[in-house]
Symmetry: C2
Subunit: 130 residues, 2 copies
């Protein structure tokens, strides 16, 4: 006789609740995985560093606040419920006048500052437990 271990029912993730568990800026938290991709959230305010991801596109969805993504050819401004996909190889810089919360999706292991490096480089962390 074999014993079948039932698969656990997958967890529901509430994005706002995940964001409520931390307050620091420019520090991505991983909240889920899809195959070899990370679903992450971050709070940002001010301006990041210009950088490029040569090997991957980057998905950014605004949850609250207002996000500006600067490109060398012009800026885009995103309100909640809006997203942009930054194509691989395209230099960009994120900025937010007020505190803004975003959901990010990209392959696991992508460095937040891309090719730029510097003091804003931070490893992705797991979300703090509730």
């Amino acid at each position: 006789m074999t014993t079948r271990i039932p698969a656990a029912v997958p967890a529901v993730v509430n994005i706002a609740a995940a964001l409520a568990r931390f307050s620091d800026h420019w520090a991505q938290r991983r909240i889920a995985g899809i195959n070899d991709y990370d679903v992450k959230v971050a709070k940002i305010q001010g301006e990041f560093v210009w950088h490029t991801h040569d090997d991957t596109d980057e998905f950014m969805l605004v949850i609250s606040g207002r996000l500006t993504v600067r490109f060398r050819e012009g800026d885009v401004v995103l309100d909640p419920g809006e997203f942009v996909v930054v194509p691989r190889g395209v230099e960009h810089c994120t900025a937010a006048a007020e505190e803004t919360s975003i959901l990010l999706l990209e392959p696991a292991g992508v460095v937040n500052t891309g090719d730029a490096g510097g003091e804003l480089t931070k490893a992705v962390r797991e979300l703090e437990p509730s």
Copy 2:
């Protein structure tokens, strides 16, 4: 002399506006790509078919309404701003009592009905132009 063609500034996608462009149920629209993944939206109401994706996880984020995802071990219920990742190989069935809008993310080419097939099988379409 070489002519440099400026990269276009990436488009901002408003999820609600994308959803406003169609009204049929269980018919996914592709609204963006991230590497070899499709970002899709769909409107659903009623109950889908039980199925499994053997080769990929599936991300579902509720935009409006209320989504039930049934698993053999129990159901989860998601409100707007909540998501679930259905692990590969796990049988599931989506359902919604009222019309519900969701954002989906999975590799390009995934069949909506997975291993089940049947009359609900539909190719992903590009979103209708605005």
